[in-house]
Structures are given as structure tokens and as C-alpha cells.
């Protein structure tokens, strides 16, 4: 199979470029990550990429394959148009080859305070929730922070320093929706901003690429609904 892979080595002083590889691999049942590992093992040991769990749980191998952000470990080689173009996630700074600088992404994640804020004395065992209240969190907690959604969002491309991006907003809503959390108002105050939240124009690129099939656009819509309810 033929591959075109984005290569960049800051120490070499060369500009980023695409390099072609011809790999002898049976695509049947194999994933993009298998090909990347095979290229590194047999063709070019200088190729750099992140990977860890290799089964779509850790979210570290988000890359852009043939123009779409995916997790390399769960994307089948079968059916991909050749040459298969593999690039780093868009808009983030490239550290080397397919490895991007996630600092901006994590900064936005930290900004939504992704933890339970509850000032009541801690109970003996745990803070209980009804099954219905717990069900509110489904479709939110599963996010693995791979960055596929945020880096596919044009609003993030234009304002990466100010727009929080779909991943951080989904996580923001995960704690707004949590009945055990007591900081809903502060969270909404933080999000009510022309940039942080309202750069989202609902084009749903995030929904299309999410490898966990989550729906950040819906979460953002629910935040807007809560803001309206609060204002009226």
C-alpha cells in the first residue's frame, strides 16, 4: 500500500514535507496504526507518532488521514484511498512528524474546571445520584480528549486562543449537567462570552469526526438553552 506521510524534524532545519512510503501490508483487518508501526519498524525508524493503548481508549493517536481527523488505531486500512495521506491534527503546532503540541487544547480543558465543585461536607461513602440524573451524563463522560473534534472546527482554527472548542465545551457541559455539582452559575458565567462559547456556529464538524460518536454540538446547544433559561 502507498502512504504519504507528513514529516517534520525541527532539529534538521528543513521545512515540513510529505514523504512517500510503499509498504507491503495486507489491509484485511488491519488499522492505520498497524501500518504506521510497520513503517517505523521496517522502512523508516525516524518516523515519530504518539500511540499507547492501540484500541481507541487513550486518545493519543489522533491524526488526519485523507483529510479527516481520526484515531489511527481504530481506522481500518481497508477502503482508504491510496496514497493514504497522513498528517498531524490541523491547527496545533507540530513538535515533530505526527506529534502535535496539545498545550492550547489542554489549557481550554483546564479552563472549564473539569472536576466536581461541591462545598458540602463530604459524605461517609459517596455522593449519591438518581439513575435518571446519572443518565444525563451519558454521551458526555466518554470523551477521551483526543482532540479530533476541536482541531476539525474552523472556529477553533480562526480563534484558537479564545474559542474553547467542542471538546472543552462538551466537558464543560458534563459538569454543568452533573446534579452533584454546585457551581453551575459560575460555569455559565465563564462560558457566556462572544468567543469562548458563541464562536460555535453549529456546523457539526465535531460530531462528524468524534471517534467515540459523541455530540459536542448538542452539548453546546444545551449550554445555550440553559443560558437562555437563566436570562429569561
Amino acid at each position: 500500500m502507498r502512504f504519504r506521510i507528513y514529516r517534520y524534524d525541527p532539529e534538521s532545519g528543513n521545512k515540513p514535507s510529505m514523504r512517500d512510503y510503499e509498504l507491503d501490508i495486507d489491509p484485511q483487518g488491519r488499522k492505520v496504526l498497524d501500518a504506521l508501526i510497520a513503517i517505523k519498524d521496517t522502512l523508516d525508524e525516524s518516523l515519530s507518532f504518539r500511540r499507547s493503548c492501540r484500541e481507541g481508549v487513550c486518545g493519543s493517536d489522533g491524526v488526519n488521514v485523507n483529510g479527516a481527523n481520526v484515531l489511527a488505531c481504530i481506522t481500518p486500512l481497508e477502503g482508504l484511498k491510496e496514497p493514504i495521506e497522513i498528517r498531524p491534527l490541523p491547527r496545533l503546532g507540530v513538535i515533530r512528524d505526527l506529534i502535535v503540541d496539545m498545550a492550547q487544547f489542554y489549557q481550554h480543558y483546564r479552563a472549564v474546571k473539569p472536576y466536581l465543585i461541591n462545598l458540602d461536607p463530604e459524605p461517609e461513602n459517596e455522593r449519591l445520584q438518581s439513575p435518571e440524573d446519572r443518565a444525563e451524563l451519558d454521551g458526555l463522560w466518554e470523551c477521551i480528549l483526543c482532540g479530533c473534534c476541536t482541531t476539525s472546527c474552523p472556529s477553533f482554527w480562526w480563534n484558537p486562543d479564545k474559542f474553547l472548542g467542542p471538546a472543552a465545551l462538551l466537558q464543560g457541559y458534563r459538569f454543568i449537567a452533573d446534579t452533584r455539582d454546585q457551581a453551575t452559575d459560575e460555569r455559565l458565567d465563564f462560558l457566556e462570552d462572544p468567543y469562548r462559547l458563541f464562536r460555535c456556529h453549529g456546523i457539526m464538524n465535531c460530531v462528524e469526526v468524534c471517534p467515540k460518536n459523541l455530540n459536542p454540538t448538542q452539548a453546546i446547544g444545551k449550554i445555550k438553552t440553559l443560558l437562555v433559561k437563566r436570562a429569561l
Binding site: 472556529s155 480562526w158 480563534n159 486562543d161 457566556e192 462570552d193 456556529h201 445555550k224 437562555v228
Partner: protein
Amino acid sequence: MRRVGGARRGLDMWLAQRAGAIYMALFLPLFLLLALAAPSLDYAGWRALFLPLGMKVATLLFFAALLAHAWIGLREIFIDYLHCARCVMLRLSLYFAVAALYLACLVWAADILWSVR
């Protein structure tokens, strides 16, 4: 310099744009129905359509909604694409320029509507 943020704004614009969209979505089919139901669409028929005060007010509201919708949309585009360090002044000037132009259009629309007697 410290970065400022958390303007506690944005909701009003977002809501106004949607309210305007709903009004337009209601007005346009009703207007089309009325226009199609008119006996004739020559000058006399068109004039009769716009003669009642209710029609004048509803049409003026339609233009107000359209222009507000367009202004908020342009504001979004300016925020999206004009964000260099020195773009604040440019954005502000554009907001005012477009707002002035659209307000003029609104007054013009009112003038046209109320000229039908």
C-alpha cells in the same frame, strides 16, 4: 499584557438573530400566500396589498428582522476572521459602518412602504 475575557455577552445577539429568523420564517410564507391569493398582481393589486396599515407594519418588521439578522451575521464574520492585534478598531468601525448603512435601508424601506396611499 493580561488577556481579558468573560464578556458575559453574546447570548443577546444569538437570541436576537434566532428571534428574527423565526419572524421571517413566519412572515414570508404568509406574505406569499396573500400575494398569490390577490386577484391580480398588477400595480393596482400590489398597491391594494400594501395599503392596510397592518401589512405596512408587518413588512417593516420583516425588514427590521432581516437587517438585524444580517448585521449580527456580519458581526460574527468580523469576529471570526478579523482578529489581528490591531483589528479591534477596524472591527468597531465596520460594526458602525454596516449598522449605519442598514439603518438607512430600514428608513428607506419605511419611506417606500408609507408612500403607498
